[in-house]
Amino acid sequence: MLEIAFKGTKRYYGWMIALASVIGVGFLCYLWQLKFGLGVTGMSRDVSWGFYIAQFTFLVGVAASAVMLVIPYYLHNYKAFGKITILGEFLAVASVSMCLMFIIADLGQPMRAFNVILNPTPGSILFWDMIVLNGYLLLNIVIGWNVLEAERNQVAPPAWIKPFIYLSVPWAVSIHTVTAFLYCGLPGRGFWLTAILAPRFLSSAFAAGPSFLILLCLLIRKISKFDPGKEQIQSLAKIVTYAIILNVFFFACEVFTVFYSNIPEHKDHFIYLFAGLHGHGVLVPWMWTSLTLMLLAIILLVIPASRKQEGVLAVACVFVFVGTWIDKGLGMISGGFVPNPMHHVSEYVPTIPEIIITLGVYATGFFILSVLFKLAVTIKEEVSA
């Protein structure tokens, strides 16, 4: 099946070469980081996790969102999603691959990464995160590949794949829950120390993932002969609507608890993010942009007339994706480290090499995504022809 990925138009090859060059530049920067150490990044003694871990957290959500297609199709027999479930699963494969790369990029001694397996430590949440992420990657590769191959041969998917599909449902929830547990079980970090963190992660995931998928579907319709379908896109739009409303609601719950209880250790992180603390507030405009985008998206999505217009829907999806990305990919991680446990404020801003390495990982993810979507779309075209 993989041979399909090698046959393509000039535009396809151009896109892949462009991605490959970004990957190359990112990799060179990574070699520099490997030589010098993580000092090339903006991270510090006080903000010891930065852009890499934040992207990882955001992308775990995008990966988990495949379940929003799997549940309606396989558990509720919603036939329309049969056409695009594969897109969700392949998006998950690309996203989890990026997550794993971001973790490796963040390690001080990446050549020792296998110590996690050589010295298994079930008490550490990072150990479980390794298991659930790799498991989810494997599940989606196996399921996606077999279902697509069956579709190409115009036969039913093998029966043995069903249990794996059912397993992938709780597994998707687990990857983002375990990722939230990385943060919300730490005693000295008031920003993360909340039971709503995992539900918040899941709701923003189920908004960000499907909104990105809608944009991809619109793009596929434009550049290929495969139409993911109007009904499918509208169903995804409803999922995004519920999820983004839940996400803002959970955020409001958190804000109430933090500010009504008035406990400084929990409050100060929110003050830092949304108003600035002791004269430091580099993230303030970003956080308000995020909140505004999410609220605007809710207005656009919740009104059926505007949601049903695909142009407006596309705009709303961009708002949701960018809004949740700022929330998780910028604010969530450094917000938890500022102020630090001794209540000193030292801010974090990613450096240029750090951003280039990040772009390199994203380009790798898009490379994987392009190959997998090329397979899926070509086979869909073949079958319908």
Binding site: F36, G37, L38, G39, G42, M43, S44, R45, D46, S48, W49, I103, D106, L107, G108, Q109, P110, R112, A113, N115, V116, L118, N119, T121, G123, S124, I125, L126, F127, M130, L182, Y183, L186, P187, G188, R189, P264, E265, G336, F337, N340, P341, M342, H343, H344, S346
Partner: protein, 277 residues
């Protein structure tokens, strides 16, 4: 690789004991006839004869005995020199930049009361306490969150309660730094060796490489040869050190006769560094 290194050290240790004529060890090697005794022939790690031992080491810092930051400097210097802690803020170093501040390594350092004990935010603080710097270091918690977080057991709690780091096993994920509620851990964002003056380097203690986490080890290496921690020695009696579970120990006597506080004890970590204010 790491495992084989450990195994080598164990075997080397056993051999050394054998050469020295330690009879019990030879006996263990000699007895191989029955299964029960063969099982006993496991490598054994022994403490040095002078080693100081405890159920849980603890520290009491008598802040009344400090007048100003100048009293703390020799203590910090003693610790950092003995443990080859790099000085990134040394202006004479050719690689000095103000930005190096982000990468500093601290094992023991000073904080104002409101930062060492940030939960209170006392607005009307006693004048002496307000201007008195506090020594802060790893609290060697009885239930350490950093140990819980570490995915490789590179940081672990010893039998005597000391929370130590295995610099060779650490993968540099920095989960322990996020988990520590005291900011006691530092990460080697770059190679620390150019920032250790060659003439001051202590050959008895390892230097670190880039990409690993480090922190105070309660001078485990000194306790092993019967010496008190460097900060205790340099404190002119202001810092006491002893077994928290020995009612006769100096720290227990101080705790019984003075009102003491601990940093963020409400978090349930069980810090073992006590402060007399």
């Amino acid at each position: 690789m790491e495992n084989s290194r450990r195994r080598f050290l164990k075997i080397a240790g056993i051999s050394a004991l054998g050469v020295a004529g330690a009879k019990p060890v030879l006996d263990v090697f000699a007895s191989g006839d029955s299964h029960g005794e063969a099982a006993k022939a496991q490598p054994e790690i022994r403490k040095g004869e002078k080693a100081l031992t405890a159920k849980q080491w603890a520290m009491v810092i008598d802040t009344r005995k400090f007048k100003s930051g100048a009293d703390l400097e020799p203590i910090i210097e003693a610790c950092h020199k003995i443990h080859n802690v790099p000085d990134f803020m040394d202006k004479e170093n050719p690689e000095f930049k103000e930005d190096n501040r982000r990468h500093v390594i601290k094992w023991i350092w000073e904080e104002e009361y409101n930062h060492a004990f940030p939960t209170g935010g006392e607005p009307f603080l006693n004048e002496r306490i307000k201007h008195l710097p506090f020594l802060v270091l790893c609290n060697h918690c009885e239930d350490p969150p950093c140990v819980r977080a570490c995915p490789t057991k590179a940081t672990f709690k010893r039998e005597d309660g000391i929370v130590v780091m295995d610099f060779h096993r650490c993968i540099g994920c920095r989960f322990c730094m996020a988990a520590c509620p005291y900011g006691s851990r530092s990460f080697n964002f770059r190679d620390p060796r150019p920032f250790i003056k060659a003439e001051e380097r202590n050959p008895e203690f390892p230097t670190r490489m880039k990409g690993v986490v480090e922190k105070c080890n309660f001078c485990a290496e000194r306790l092993a040869v019967g010496q008190m921690p460097a900060c205790v020695e340099a404190s002119n009696g202001a810092i006491a050190f002893g077994d928290l579970y020995d009612p006769e120990s100096e720290v227990r006597k101080l705790l019984a006769s003075n009102f003491t506080i601990r940093r963020k004890d409400g978090l349930g970590t069980g810090p073992t560094v006590y402060y007399i204010v």
